[in-house]
């Protein structure tokens, strides 16, 4: 299996902060989309900054397309498309001027593809970015990120603050992108419904640590949340629960195999669980 991204034992701390990225490890097979989920300040952006070398990691290994990336590896960065939480282009630029800038930086820049994508997103080529809405700036960032034929797309909150129609359009573009088996996407997002639609794997991060990485379909179809009374909860073996959360009238228990759990503990209702609820139980729950 080819890995587009492989992170092993990544640690990163800041001098002026208590936050620590602690032994972060996960990988993205080519041809797949990895959803990267966590609450604000969990370490998603620091992980992405470490991957992109915009911050200096303390230790660990990050391999992009099988290769560790240093400042010198400019050819490797040709293969990486990046969309950060805002457009990140000077506001005085227009999409037309941005293309001229990008053409002078990326050897693989494909002007025809850029024009096609900006047309698809209905972006005016001669209007300044400062006059764009957030949706338009994010579409522009995505068009620019894809127009140099990257193999790996790294998206940090690329769909946040966008309306459902725009998000749908953008998600379609991402799905088309991974139709090529050599491509992959790392997508951090608060909007877990987007990840439920397109991700193949989900990685959960909390307080700088990876708490779970799983295949999305397993999370949706195999994982479940058991709604237990206190008496029912006492019967559950520790090994059969991932985390639990005590509520006012019940205890919610996150289980890995809802079918098996249902058979073993008859009388306990086990509901399908959303990514949001899994995150909530992992972050707020007890072991």
């Amino acid at each position: 299996m080819n890995l587009s991204l492989e992170i092993t034992g990544l640690t990163k701390s800041y001098v002026d902060s208590d936050f620590v990225l602690d032994d972060v490890s996960f990988s993205i097979p080519s041809g797949t989309i990895m959803g990267f989920v966590g609450e604000n300040g969990a370490g998603k952006t620091t992980t992405i900054k470490s991957i992109l070398n915009t911050v200096h990691k303390d230790s660990g290994t990050i391999r992009l397309m099988g290769q560790e990336m240093t400042d010198r590896d400019t050819a490797l960065r040709e293969d990486i498309g990046v969309v950060l939480d805002s457009a990140n282009f000077p506001e005085v630029l227009t999409p037309g001027k941005l293309a001229k800038v990008m053409r002078g930086i990326y050897r693989q820049w494909d002007q025809a593809l850029y024009v096609r994508l900006t047309d698809k997103f209905a972006l005016p080529m001669n209007r300044k970015i400062k006059e764009f809405s957030r949706g338009m700036t994010m579409k522009l960032a995505i068009a620019a990120a894809m127009s140099h034929h990257p193999k790996l797309l790294i998206l940090d909150e690329a769909t946040s603050g966008l309306d459902p129609v725009t998000r749908e359009e953008i998600l379609e573009v991402f799905l088309e992108f991974v139709e090529d088996e050599r491509h992959a996407i790392l997508m951090s997002s608060h909007i877990t419904s987007d990840l439920e639609k397109i991700a193949d794997h989900i990685t959960f991060i909390h307080q700088g640590k990876i708490i779970l990485t799983a295949v999305k379909d397993e999370l949706i179809y195999d994982y479940g949340v058991a709604r237990c009374t206190r008496e029912q909860f006492k019967r559950i073996a520790e090994g059969d629960r991932l985390t639990y959360r005590v509520r006012e009238h019940q205890i919610d228990v996150l289980v890995e195999d809802k079918q098996g759990f249902g058979q073993k503990y008859s009388g306990v209702t086990v509901d399908q669980v959303s990514i949001d609820e899994i995150l909530l139980l992992l972050v707020k729950g007890e072991k």
């Binding site: 900054k49 992109l52 400019t74 960065r77 805002s86 990140n88 630029l93 800038v101 053409r103 990326y106």
Partner: protein, 212 residues
């Protein structure tokens, strides 16, 4: 590199237009029949005024987080600095080019400019611009652009201090050296250029260790 230079130019474009307008207005002084000391001051100001526009461009880059984004592109950190310093030189060249308009207008109004000694204006403008940028940029790169305007003024003040120091040193050897004279001007250019080269190396080092 070409893309970075182009981006720097686009970011500076509005300020360049303003600087160009002011510099061209200053050129009109040549028609007023003023003496060569005023013309020297005009030429120095025309060169230096373009340097003032750099702060707005850097603030724009920081506001859009372009500084972070450019590191994700296929360019090295030192190339980013290289492009910045080339853009600085481009600004100085623009100022110098516009000052030629003053010479042309003086020629038109007076007919003969061979007797005017305008080297003071050029050496003053160039040394002031070069050393202002040399001091300003590494500091801004290290500590951020929030105090950009103040830092330009402090850098300009320190650049004048450099000229004063050179003048004092020259006075140790000769008694007749004028602060505004061509000897001080040419002699100040040497440490200014040296400072610019050192500034580039320091900026590369700061950028290499900086986190975005």
């Amino acid at each position: 590199m070409r893309g970075l230079l182009l981006n720097n130019y686009y970011s500076l474009q509005n300020n360049i237009k303003s600087s160009l307008g002011i510099a061209l207005l200053l050129s009109l002084v040549s028609f007023a029949g003023v003496d060569h000391s005023v013309l020297n001051a005009v030429i120095a100001a025309q060169i230096w005024i373009f340097v003032l526009s750099i702060g707005a461009s850097l603030q724009m880059d920081e506001a859009s987080k372009w500084n972070r984004f450019e590191l994700t592109m296929p360019i090295r950190r030192k190339t980013v600095i290289h492009a910045k310093y080339l853009s600085f030189l481009m600004l100085i060249l623009m100022g110098t080019a516009v000052s030629l308009v003053t010479l042309a207008l003086t020629y038109v109004s007076k007919g003969d400019i061979a007797h005017l000694n305008l080297s003071t204006g050029y050496t003053f403008g160039l040394s002031l611009s070069i050393s202002t940028l040399a001091i300003y940029y590494p500091v801004i790169l290290k500590f951020g652009v929030e105090k950009s305007e103040q830092m330009v003024m402090i850098s300009a003040g320190l650049s004048l201090g450099l000229r004063f120091l050179v003048w004092m040193l020259l006075n140790l050897y000769r008694d007749d050296v004028n602060f505004n004279g061509p000897e001080t001007g040419y002699a100040t250019l040497i440490p200014a250029v040296f400072l610019f080269a050192v500034s580039y190396l320091i900026a590369v080092r700061i950028h290499r260790n900086k986190e975005f």
